[in-house]
Symmetry: C2
């Protein structure tokens, strides 16, 4: 069977996973947790083999650290499973009930999306995180991991598959795609895969988005801004900017462009240059460069996600110019205003068209764990379905159930009956 045929089988089976009770799905999660502990040595061994091969292939430091799956990463996975078990069941919740007429009752009930394809690079812990999020939300997962983690992924997948089946999850609740050609097949499964979640580099996510008719949830660019308002506390601003730029430089929620109100540029820019010395390379527009020694920032800089210790700076005339710049150059991810003026903060948070709009804090807070979602499948910069950090809730849709007793539409069209529309 090719992956298209497999995906079709998974699709037909997927309703069975959604029909299990929350208790049954939680039991399976617990079983998986125990199986991961019981089989950890085999998993670590597989990971060592992947790491050895990666080193031989001359793969660089940051990738190696993402590839590593040790006791520490396992502990994170296990506590992630614990927190998932603790979350309320996201499916089979009645969201509203409405009597349309006597004996005709409409109900909206949450249910799984169905089949979710996840394509991720290097990090094997993502396999555990995503498959358990999918079990919690009643979705079948088709997973394709990075080839450099092939052995670790296979070991983790085997443990999860067997423990899940033992706990009576239906066949096909999780599938591993192991060859690269499988990606192209997966992207063509319009009739059976309901959602693709890509996790990886910008180029990778863009490739997925451009090459599938299946809806994609995620983000390509993360061009986040901080705007320092005229009413900003300068020390607070500098502290937040340094955190947002340097706390983890390769993250999507790291700040890339700083906008500074012209009234405070003479204080902010030199203070930042001093604080970030030897840590951040600043690039500025003509006005910014009057206040500190830095390279020139071009139009292209304001459209660039550096993922590096580089920050571009633009001086703006007022808050409206800052908002326009963000809505035009940004990626609708996360943007923050630093100000002591509540009115300015409200204006910024209303007019900036991003998933996260922050006041006096670091853009690095944009993260499912920090938001208290337990876990996240990723951060969405799309505006439909789920926006910002996406947890279990984003893996859920709903259906309408309508119960009658021989009700037909003709009676309402002819005026024999009329709708009562009463919420229950």
């Amino acid at each position: 069977m090719n992956y298209k045929e497999i995906a079709r089988e998974v699709k037909l089976n997927s309703v069975k996973l959604g029909a299990l009770s929350g208790e049954e799905r939680n039991k399976a999660l617990l079983k998986i947790k125990e199986a991961l502990i019981d089989n950890k040595e085999a998993i670590f061994e597989a990971n060592k083999a992947d790491l050895k091969k990666a080193e031989e292939d001359g793969i660089a430091g940051p990738v190696l650290s993402r590839l590593k799956f040790d006791q520490h990463k396992l502990d994170d996975c296990l506590s992630g499973i614990d927190s998932l078990i603790g979350l309320p069941d996201p499916i089979n919740k009645s969201v509203f009930r409405r009597m349309l007429d006597d004996g005709l009752v409409l109900e909206r009930v949450t249910c799984p999306i169905g089949v979710i394809g996840v394509i991720f690079e290097s990090r094997p812990d993502a396999l555990v995180q995503i498959s358990t999020l999918c079990i919690k939300s009643g979705n079948c997962a088709i997973l394709k991991g990075g080839s450099e983690a092939a052995k670790t992924n296979r070991a983790l997948f085997d443990v999860i598959l067997h423990a899940g089946l033992e706990a009576r999850l239906p066949e096909g609740f999780v599938t591993l795609v192991e060859d690269r050609a499988g990606i192209a097949e997966l992207l063509e499964c319009d009739d059976s895969v309901d959602l693709i979640i890509p996790r990886g580099s910008n180029a990778f996510v863009k490739y997925i988005m451009d090459n599938s008719n299946i809806p994609v949830m995620g983000h390509a660019d993360g061009i986040c801004h901080i705007y320092v308002d005229e009413a900003a506390d300068i020390d607070k601003a500098v502290r937040i900017i340094v955190d947002a730029k340097t706390q983890y430089v390769a993250a999507c929620n790291t700040v890339e462009t700083l906008l500074v109100h012209k009234a405070v540029a003479d204080k902010l820019v030199p203070a930042l240059a001093e604080a970030s010395k030897e840590k951040i390379a600043l690039k500025g527009d003509e006005n910014a460069r009057r206040f500190a020694d830095m390279e020139e920032a071009t139009e292209e800089d304001f459209r660039t996600e550096y993922l590096d210790y580089i920050l571009s700076i633009k001086i703006v005339g007022d808050i409206n110019e800052a908002i326009e710049h963000i809505n035009k150059y940004g990626s609708h991810h996360t943007d923050s205003i630093i100000t002591e003026c509540e009115g300015a903060a409200d204006r910024f948070m209303t007019y900036v068209d991003s998933a996260g709009v922050y006041h006096n804090c670091s853009t690095r807070f944009a993260d499912g764990f920090r938001y208290g979602f337990g876990a996240e499948v990723g951060i969405s910069t799309g505006k439909l379905h789920a926006r910002g950090p996406v947890g279990v809730e984003g893996l859920v849709t709903y259906k309408y159930k309508l119960r009658g007793n021989g009700h037909i539409v003709k009676d309402y069209a002819d005026g024999v009956s009329t709708f009562k529309h009463k919420d229950l």
Copy 2:
């Protein structure tokens, strides 16, 4: 300016519409309602010119009746606006508030999607319905109507545009695309149009879906099923089937395939053949044809949306076969079970993977007005964002607002601070 440039302008302005209060948007709706009444003669005149041209062009009856915009259609539009004004404001609603730590508060607030492109055929009342739905939900609308309704659309658009601007809606809150080339440009506006809603024939919707990277909300096929269970009341079943097939044959929620449990086929099929005589052409599989005289239904029939007085029939061995058939051949729109057995109904409603799962009632109830949503922009067979009939609520997304006082992530990473995660 071409439509791409126009759409970019609309995008930058769209945040202004979402920043207006609910009261301001309701005032604009009232103003538009009054303007439609004041200008109705000019609108009717324009419509007469469109109708005259359509007749000269030899356009057929059903299209003419959709094209007609008279006092009756106007009254429907006006009462639609009244019901929109009466609905609670869907945006700027705080959905949850959570304290992440002392002084660091996360809030999720509903907001408009942004810019919505709507492409519709023939019916000019759709222009009024959609533009007012967009105003209520704070979205800018870019509208492309059918060329046969060009004069009526222009007249309605002028009235809505001027009344809206007079009521202080921002520039660009509604845009009319009048040339056919505009469609292709609109479909390429990935950077400025957030959502496309196509309303028209299957082929038309499929064309839109295949030719844009912008998310599309709607449905192509509507292959709805009725399954008559072994525990069905036969009279009730026949009454519901006739309604679901004949009450409005060209609708997407009309039944196309009937599945009958083998235990009741000898009663149901002859009774239906008798009741639908001269009204419905039945086509059946081999087993169905043993109980009444009818044409043969092929595999292709079960994948066909007839939009005509034709119904295909298949005899199934049990409820599971019915569910599998629906999930495989259906379009995830609306499917109904006829049974007096609650257990069978529950099983059907859990396992059938459709936006609407019904028990003992006609599939024709799948409609925003009948659900009490006030109005609908269409019915979605996609599973993300909005499913089934989509009202104002489906035109809304959310953003996360995070308010702090100098909070940085480093403190949490270093263990200096820990999250408290307390819902407010």
